[in-house]
């Protein structure tokens, strides 16, 4: 165990269940879940349509006989149409901030809350949290699941908590410097923000005592991880969850940091081709589709997360047996399929951020003039990078093309354009123009 950067400690023995026991447990819990959702009209109808009942579930793979649930289904049954228990049994409600106005609510029974805290404790301990630590939680406390979810997890481990909540960044820095917590919990972009404000106030990694951070709640990249780790002098851990399912706690990284271990005794996760809804081969990217196995208040069957990631069930040297998922690389909503390759606009941005002379302002244009897709990426030139020498300009272009190839695996046509020329509508940039007819998935 000496090859871990710190002691590999396991919070819950269930994390190391043998695979065959785990699969058997999943089958049993899936059967119970199907019986439980009979109280939800939506599922009663959908199960009847498919002619499936709890008795038909014999193995975990029988999940493929069950109906899907989408965000739209949840919206149509706003606010609490998916409750599987009487309203009096609820002890807590949270919600996701809906971009369309109304939140999507998630409800918890007392048992759900207890389970949720335990799931958060699992990944917190896997990523270094110990009873003797002090933890600054800079997540929003409110309808958002991040603040309260992690708070309960930390409390269960027994560490002390500074419930700083999000915002007031100078105060966050003050707390880090004065109280010297060892652990920070927030979104990765907020951690960068905190690091910037700390630097502006003249504080570096030596002025704070942080050792670990647990980040979740948004998509981020390995480059960002390195940047935050350098800026704060910490080890950063990724965790995953979504409010419709439970909040944080679906999966999290261990000390080996080779993907996030899914708590498969509580969640059955499939990785499907978003178009065919068939499983993708292991290791390939697909949409995560999650079935809750123990949720009481609001169990969901095959919830389409729209998050794209890959699964890896190879044994991990930490001893946990839960399948590991890669970081979320994109959303099905903005995924482009080009020459059979999945590409996300965020990957282009990631590539551009690695090149000094480029700005992260770009426009992807996809055409299909013949049988093949053609991709052109327009990139705004950084004025300081402009040279009167053609060889230097060609080198800059090649460098951008190479980085895009490294990140996406695609060779794209690249066009440099003047700064401030790509359209920005209401602050948010237009990233993709897809002119293909019959485009896949469209």
């Amino acid at each position: 165990m000496t090859d871990f950067p710190f002691e590999n400690r396991i919070w819950d023995p269930a994390e190391t269940l043998a695979r065959d026991e785990l699969r058997a447990l999943q089958a049993e819990r899936l059967r119970e879940t199907v019986a439980r959702v009979a109280h939800v009209p939506f599922y009663r109808r959908a199960l009847a349509e498919r002619g499936v009942g709890a008795d038909d579930i014999r193995i975990a793979d029988d999940v493929r006989r069950l109906p899907f649930t989408t965000k739209e289904d949840l919206r149509q049954h706003y606010p609490l149409g998916f409750l599987a228990v009487p309203r009096e049994e609820l002890v807590r409600l949270h919600g996701s901030s809906g971009t369309t106005g109304k939140p999507t609510f998630v409800a918890y029974t007392a048992e759900d809350l207890e389970c949720w805290a335990n799931l958060c404790a699992r990944f917190l301990v896997a990523g270094g949290l110990r009873r003797e630590h002090m933890v600054q939680i800079a997540f929003g406390y409110g309808l958002f699941t991040g603040g309260f979810g992690l708070h309960q997890g930390v409390e269960l481990v027994g560490a002390s908590i500074i419930p700083a909540a999000s915002g007031n960044t100078p105060r966050q820095v003050m707390l880090l410097v004065d109280l010297r917590p060892e652990v920070l919990i927030c979104t990765p972009s907020y951690a960068l923000n905190i690091a910037e404000v700390a630097r502006a106030k003249g504080y570096g990694p030596d002025d704070i005592a942080l050792q670990f951070a647990h980040f979740g709640g948004e998509m981020w990249t390995e480059d960002m991880r390195h940047e935050i780790e350098r800026a704060l002098g910490i080890q950063a851990f990724n965790n995953y969850g979504l409010s419709e399912i439970i909040g944080p706690g679906v999966s999290g990284e261990c000390a080996a940091r080779g993907g996030m271990h899914i708590s498969e005794d509580h969640f059955l996760v499939e990785c499907l081709d978003p178009d065919t809804l068939e499983p993708v081969p292991e290791g390939e990217q697909g949409e995560l589709v999650i079935t809750t196995l123990t949720k009481q208040a609001m169990p969901l069957l095959r919830y389409r997360t729209r998050d794209i990631a890959a699964l890896d069930s190879a044994p991990c040297r930490c001893g946990r047996t839960g399948t590991r998922m890669s970081r979320v690389v994109g959303r099905t909503d903005d995924m482009l399929i080009i020459r059979g390759v999945n590409v996300f606009p965020s990957q282009i941005e990631e590539a551009l951020l690695r090149v000094d002379g480029a700005t992260p302002h770009y426009l992807i244009e996809v055409d299909r003039p013949g049988a093949m897709d053609e991709v052109k990426v327009k990139v705004e030139l950084r004025p300081e990078a402009f040279s009167d020498r053609m060889d230097e300009m060609q080198r800059l272009r090649d460098r951008i093309g190479r980085e895009i190839f490294t990140v996406t695996g695609l060779r794209v046509g690249l066009e440099l354009v003047e700064p401030q020329t790509l359209e920005r509508s209401a602050g948010k940039a237009l990233r993709v123009i897809d002119r293909r007819q019959n485009r896949p998935g469209g």
Binding site: L381, F386, D388, R389, M390, E415, E418
Partner: protein, 146 residues
């Protein structure tokens, strides 16, 4: 000895080059000479004008990406072999030429070439040692504008 050259980034779309030239004309700036280096995806327009600071301001105000570079204007005998002899001197001096282009106006049997050297000062010294004339801005624009 050194002349300020203005370079402008040109996008690969119809009318983008013409728009830059038009903007300068409307500001009353006379382009003494120019060269365009281009690829399918973009171009670099290089200009010699008398009032380069004004030209730079006009272009930047219009949102263009502009850069100034020091170049040398060198006289060449306007006869077969004139340029070859000059280039031989440059080669012999171990001086790196990034690019060059011909100046529009000649004078008394002499042509003028614009050279972008990696190290303009070293180039001036090497050329003058061989008795080759490097024009300053006053000489250059006198020839151009009569």
């Amino acid at each position: 000895m050194k002349i300020q050259q203005i370079s402008v980034f040109i996008e690969n779309r119809p009318g983008h080059l013409a728009a830059q030239i038009r903007a300068l004309a409307e500001a009353g700036i006379n382009i003494v000479t120019l060269s365009l280096a281009d690829t399918e995806q973009f171009g670099i327009l290089r200009l010699i004008v008398r009032d380069w600071e004004k030209a730079k301001g006009v272009l930047e105000a219009a949102g263009r990406v502009v850069k100034t570079t020091e170049v040398l204007a060198i006289e060449v005998e306007d006869r077969p072999g004139g340029l070859a002899e000059l280039l031989e001197v440059i080669d012999a001096g171990g001086i790196n030429v990034e690019y060059m282009y011909a100046f529009t106006y000649g004078f008394k049997g002499r042509a003028v070439m614009i050279f972008r050297f990696e190290d303009p000062d070293a180039a001036i010294a090497a050329l003058q040692a061989k008795g080759i004339g490097v024009l300053d801005a006053v000489d250059l624009f006198r020839r151009a504008e009569g």
